[in-house]
Symmetry: none
Subunit: 419 residues, 2 copies
């Protein structure tokens, strides 16, 4: 068969997804706890598969699994395909793992065809991407580049309270690497990083498309602990001019932010604004009381840092103005920020060429790809259609859609665009 | 001392307020839970004081406390002075209790002076006026007139989930009275009902006046358990057209109701609209999630029933329209309604004559007086200046202002206007 017609090993993929589901399902959902038994089981499954394919396998000091098809020039910078193998509690079978399975399906096909690529291609099974267990994202990829703040070693796991340090030691890994910020990967020796991931929103279902090329990963600017302080009062006995109504003021602020969002959207900006937590104080509120306080979140995301800046500034300006108008005090607090990550233009173009119906979209959620992009490594991502969102047991990716996206990865490798 | 110069027993009043505060304060606020330990403690304090004054004391089948100074003609229709002894959670010391203390201060003065009034005067310590505990107002006064829908017996108390029926039985009272709608008071045998209450808004503070005569009581039309159901999603990964954002939709609804309010205000209508409870589900919400559900209250008050009807209709219309626009489902539920009540003209005039600086105003909050007025009993109310509103720990009534209003009550009794 001409190499251009090579297909990813979907029989292997199906077997791996099945094995993952059988091994790491607890009740309705998947539990692959970061640095716990569930994640380890997923690593063991991939490790064994890599052995059967005939890849070189190694494990780095913090447990990342490196599965390599050697290239003709072993000294040339390598291409990496990766994703994480952990899941949120009661997650689905595909968030993370699909990217590793895709990498192995591609290397299995190349190996079976006897193709030796010009450079090494390494599939990386990354540790602990989800922040659900240790309240920090990108432990595996961040740690591999020596990017972690050593203070993270004392973070307690959300379920059993054990520190990251104790957990690493228990698994036979080396916390010293993190303490010394020692890089385990050299960005200069990585030619490109590619990640396949299920889409975590409904866009591809709505567009009726199996896959999309990712333009960038939205950054996040979040007012995590915003507050409005007014004054409690009787709902019938205080007329409008004398009110200090925290709910009315917060409603006015959030309504204003929606108009800002619509304006930005009309101007072509990429943007989502969400207030996913909003509550009056259950110990103080009442059906016949004007609310004296609200707590809420404003979560702003965009592939453009400038757009997020604009919205945050608009929020602060509106909070001051509306606070005065409603005789309340807003305290939006500081924002927690993660910058957007831009995907490599040439990899985007090359991936688009691999799709029968090319479609591009931003990633709203964070991915390990953001860490590689931050390191200056040319990075590309492809999304697979997935119904019901992610981080829940109902993730629904079909093997056919997975095949389309994985074939695009394989096609990209066979026509690699970077000189 | 000539009877015209008789003064209410403010020493007793001060002692009773002090005792109430010491006994029913929990943390910063007052907790006199309806048919609970806090309310019972207040009843016990009043019962003991009535005994010391030498009043006839009885307790009706649903726990209302009747403290009577016998008149010369025991068969003549009696005059009642009353208010409630329960409070909202974390309320203040004066909302409700001040009216009962005022009644006892007046009867104590009459008793000490050896004055026997022409008819019985009964101070009524009324049960469960606040709807914070059983989601129904006027349990005590409504029940005393056999007005309650027996279905109310199955209402669960908001904090412990126990039904009204079980709670009544636990306290030794008789739910059968409510089931049979049996009246415990005969409206034809009540010559007048008088209630002193702290003002629950800031008008008297603004007017620099100690007391006001009440013209009428705003009715209330309340969506107590309104809900919006959308769908949870990733805050970054779901774009606007695919969202089912319950917070965004609820914000849009409440913002719309504010514009309705402003229109009504411009047209000269008496109206207040309040959403004092608003919350996402703490077990499900999160800073990076679109909220799939909100719970909220819409409390509408006016002296005009027609105005409240208009606003409720506008709320339902907007919920349908905005629900469609935001791809969510609003369930506003039924309203709980209390109609506006008008105070007796002659009692208003007589009370005005008792004030050095006569001032009249509407009551924004509901009061047991509304139930007595509804029964066709001539009803009068007097407000006492109170800073910081009511239903909160910071209620601030001075004993001097209380004295002015209570003296007016006493003066009214000594110059009773009804033939």
């Amino acid at each position: 068969m001409p190499i251009e017609q090579l297909q990813p090993d979907l029989k292997l993929a199906a077997a791996l997804f099945d094995s993952l589901s059988r091994t790491t399902r607890h009740g309705r959902g998947i539990v692959r706890d970061s640095y716990g038994a569930g994640e380890q089981a997923a690593h063991d499954i991939m490790h064994a598969a890599a052995g059967r394919i005939g890849l070189d396998v190694s494990i780095d000091a913090i447990g990342n699994l490196m599965m390599t098809l050697p290239g003709r020039d072993r000294d040339a910078p390598r291409i990496m395909i990766g994703s994480h193998l952990d899941s949120v509690p009661q997650g689905g079978n595909y968030d993370g793992a699909a990217g590793v399975v895709a990498g192995l399906s591609v290397l299995s096909a190349l190996k079976q065809a006897g193709t030796q690529p010009p450079c090494d291609i390494t599939v990386m099974g990354i540790r602990a991407e989800e922040s659900a267990w240790f309240d920090i994202a990108y432990l595996g990829s961040g740690g591999a580049f020596g990017l972690l703040d050593p203070a993270c070693l004392s973070i307690a796991r959300s379920d059993n309270g054990r520190s990251l340090e104790a957990t690493l030691i228990e698994r036979g890994f080396d916390p010293q690497t993190i303490r010394e910020r020692r890089p385990l990967l050299d960005a200069a020796r990585i030619r490109a990083y590619l990640e396949l991931h299920i889409e975590q929103g409904p866009s591809l279902v709505a567009e009726d498309l199996p896959a999309a090329v990712v333009t960038g990963i939205r950054g996040c600017k979040r007012f995590r602990n915003a507050r409005c302080v007014g004054r409690y009062g009787h709902s019938g006995a205080v007329n409008r001019p004398q009110r200090h109504d925290a709910v009315a003021a917060t409603v006015a602020l959030l309504h204003h932010l929606e108009t800002v969002w619509l304006e930005q959207e009309r101007a072509g900006a990429d943007l989502v604004i969400t207030s996913g937590e909003f509550y009056t104080d259950p110990a103080m509120h009442g059906p016949s009381k004007i609310a004296g306080e609200t707590h809420f979140v404003i979560d702003v995301r965009s592939v453009s840092g400038a757009t997020m800046q604009t919205v945050a500034a608009a929020a602060r300006e509106a909070a001051a103005r509306i606070g005065e108008e409603y005789r309340v005090a807003f305290d939006l607090g500081a924002t927690s920020d993660s910058p957007p990550a831009v995907m490599d233009e040439r990899l985007r173009a090359a991936l688009r060429r691999q799709l029968a119906r090319p479609f591009e979209m931003a990633s709203g959620a964070g991915h390990d790809a953001a860490v590689f992009a931050k390191m200056g490594i040319p990075t590309g991502m492809i999304f697979v259609r997935n119904d019901h969102g992610s981080h829940n047991p109902d993730e629904a990716m079909t093997l056919a859609d997975f095949g389309v996206a994985t074939r695009a990865l394989l096609g990209l490798l066979l026509n690699f665009p970077l000189s």
